[in-house]
């Protein structure tokens, strides 16, 4: 079976700056695929190339079976896009925006009305059909953009940070819709810098500084860093010496933003006594963590993924939890 997306050695340079440094990956048909990475990782750059609005510097990119450089129009007909930044005509109504989109993609007349109602249903915006977009809330606008991207029943839907800047309720809603959209067999490709959101994906590509550092299912990624995490708190002035000592013992410890030390371990039960006998009274607290994608990122880069924006974790609907 042909893949929905095929990328080989993709490079994008802005002047001398290499924003994407030769990445390769495939996305299978019907898959929910995520790009996870901090701001500036090169997620949007890659997505803009995939959706044909940016030219790659080099590399091979196929989307929905067509080359994004030589067969732009064919690719565009088969994809739906929600860009990171808003792209609605806010001076027109909800209906107007969908109508324009419909005509541009060859949908009009009765079919247009039908599709309009269908997509507005999906994102629960039927009630505001006649409202000016500028009078909608941020969350509603985002949902409208998703609806618009679905109007022409694309094979692949791209969502570039679809929840950034939204309140928790709207975030949760958007993931509900995405789950819904997937049931129709649509391939969904999204980017995010929230690890919790990447958990929804079938497979996640972890991206940093223009490179894909790891690509697998969320579970496999977490298993890959070896069992659980032991998090220890130590007396402030001892942090560095403890890190040194742990390395000598054969561990790969990381210092988290809050000063605590994270130690990936395969066998938690036997490691804890070992730690206490080696470090003894320096340890102020011990915590055991089942790894998250943040831990994976930390292991891969030595940095934390999370920035100061609050995590949407608490508001994620239960059925998404794994």
């Amino acid at each position: 079976m042909e893949n929905a997306i095929h990328v080989e050695n993709l490079v994008k340079k802005y002047g001398n700056f290499e924003a994407v440094k030769g990445i390769s990956f495939d996305v299978r048909k019907g898959e929910l695929f995520a790009f996870l990475g901090p701001n500036g990782a090169g997620k949007s750059t890659t997505i803009n190339i995939l959706v044909t609005v940016l030219k790659p510097t080099s590399g091979i990119v196929y989307v929905a079976g067509h080359d994004v450089v030589r067969e732009k129009l064919q690719v565009r007909q088969r994809i739906g896009v929600v860009f990171q930044d808003p792209s609605l005509d806010s001076r027109l109504t909800v209906e107007d925006n969908l109508k324009i989109h419909g005509y541009v993609y060859g949908i009009y007349g009765r079919e247009l009305q039908k599709r309009m109602d269908e997509v507005l249903d999906i994102v629960e915006l039927k009630g505001v059909k006649k409202r000016l977009v500028k009078h909608l809330s941020g969350g509603m606008r985002r949902r409208l953009e998703i609806a618009r991207g679905l109007m022409h029943t694309p094979q692949v839907l791209f969502l570039d940070e679809p929840t950034t800047g939204l309140d928790p309720q709207n975030r949760a809603k958007i993931w509900d819709y995405v789950e819904n959209i997937r049931t129709t067999g649509t391939t969904v490709f999204f980017s995010t810098h929230y690890m919790d959101e990447a958990e929804y994906a079938d497979r996640v590509a972890i991206m940093d500084h223009g490179k894909i550092l790891a690509l697998d299912t969320p579970d496999a990624l977490k298993k890959g860093i070896g069992g659980n995490m032991i998090v220890i708190g130590v007396k402030k002035d001892k942090t560095d010496s403890v890190l040194e000592k742990l390395k000598q013992m054969g561990f790969t410890p990381h210092k988290a933003n809050d000063g605590k030390i994270w130690i990936p371990v395969s066998d938690t039960a036997s490691t804890i006594p070992q730690l206490f006998s080696a470090l003894g009274d320096v340890i102020t607290e011990v915590d055991i963590r089942i790894p998250t994608l943040n831990d994976v990122f930390l292991t891969l880069t030595g940095r934390e993924l999370r920035d100061d924006e609050s995590s949407p974790e608490k508001f994620v609907p239960m059925r998404f939890r794994r």
Binding site: V51, T52, V53, L54, K55, K72, L73, Q74, R76, Q77, I79, V81, F83, D85, P86, S87, L88, D89, S90, R91, L92, D96, K99, I100, H101, Y103, V104, Y105, G106, Y108, L132, R148
Partner: protein, 291 residues
């Protein structure tokens, strides 16, 4: 497919115009002020009979052309707005060629400008400027043609400019000189030659001239004819009257014409400018917005 894209882009321009009454009304302020102040003002200083035309009616086609020019040119700013507010991305990722988008945009600008022109003509009707039906149809056709020409220019400028501020600055910079050097306010027959060159390279000149051709019979005062000297006067009396007659004759002959070029010239030059501006718009829009 392409035509449908052009249609919906055109529809969008109209829809936005309809939803934005403020723009509609604001665009009338300046032209109306010119028409009323200048029209009544000049008419009160110079007798109509001496000039050979009613200045208010002479001015009207010029001000109408100005309204159409400003409205159609402003259409170009939507290109910049779309870029600033993100809608451009929606068009960029659409499976369409930019050519059709430009066609729709230009026709949109021209249509909006024509509607503004028609509203202005209705206002003119109440000020006593009442062209007959045939004239009206011809004027409307001319405003649409002018709308396409200037619409092209506006889209070109909108695609070339980076920001709204730059565009507005440019508009303020070119609109005033274009207006004053188009013959909208005065006949161009008797102006100095060096000034004429500016008038000749101004696309607006030809639109104003064409509209004057169309409305000439309404503008000119036909009631003033040369006084006839009774044939049965004695020769001495004829002799005595001659200098007066000569003076009157020369006065009549230096009375400026309301038009300057032939109608064919006006149409041809406008067509030429239109082709150039539309091609420039299509090219620049595709280069700056296409991928």
């Amino acid at each position: 497919m392409g035509l449908r894209v052009a249609y919906i882009v055109w529809w969008r321009e109209l829809r936005r115009y309809m939803l934005d009454r403020g723009r509609m009304i604001a665009m009338f302020f300046q032209p109306l002020m010119f028409l009323i102040v200048m029209g009544y003002g000049i008419n009160s200083v110079f007798p109509k009979d001496l000039m050979g035309f009613d200045y208010m009616k002479f001015l009207f086609p010029g001000i109408l052309a100005m309204t159409v020019f400003m409205t159609a040119f402003m259409g170009g700013i939507t290109v910049i707005w779309d870029r600033e507010f993100g809608f451009l991305k929606e068009l960029m990722v659409a499976p369409v060629r930019p050519t059709w988008v430009v066609v729709g945009r230009i026709l949109g600008s021209a249509t909006v400008a024509t509607i503004q022109g028609i509203i202005f003509m209705i206002i003119g009707y109440f000020l006593g400027i009442r062209p007959d039906l045939m004239m009206t149809l011809k004027i409307v056709a001319t405003t649409f043609a002018l709308g396409i020409m200037v619409g092209g220019l506006g889209i070109y400028m909108g695609s070339a400019m980076k920001t709204t501020e730059n565009f507005m600055a440019l508009m303020n910079m070119i609109v005033q000189p274009m207006l004053f050097l188009s013959g909208a306010f005065f006949p161009i027959d008797n102006i100095p030659n060096w000034l004429k060159w500016f008038v000749y390279v101004n696309p607006l000149t030809y639109a104003v001239d064409l509209m004057r051709h169309i409305t000439a019979s309404m503008i000119k005062i036909e009631t003033l004819s040369m006084p006839q000297i009774p044939q049965n006067l004695p020769p001495q009396a004829m002799q005595a009257l001659k200098p007066i007659m000569d003076m009157l004759n020369s006065l009549m002959s230096t009375r400026p014409n309301v038009t300057h070029f032939s109608m064919q010239t006006d149409i041809l030059v406008m067509a030429g400018f239109t082709v150039v501006f539309v091609l420039l718009a299509g090219w620049k829009f595709a280069v700056s917005e296409g991928v």
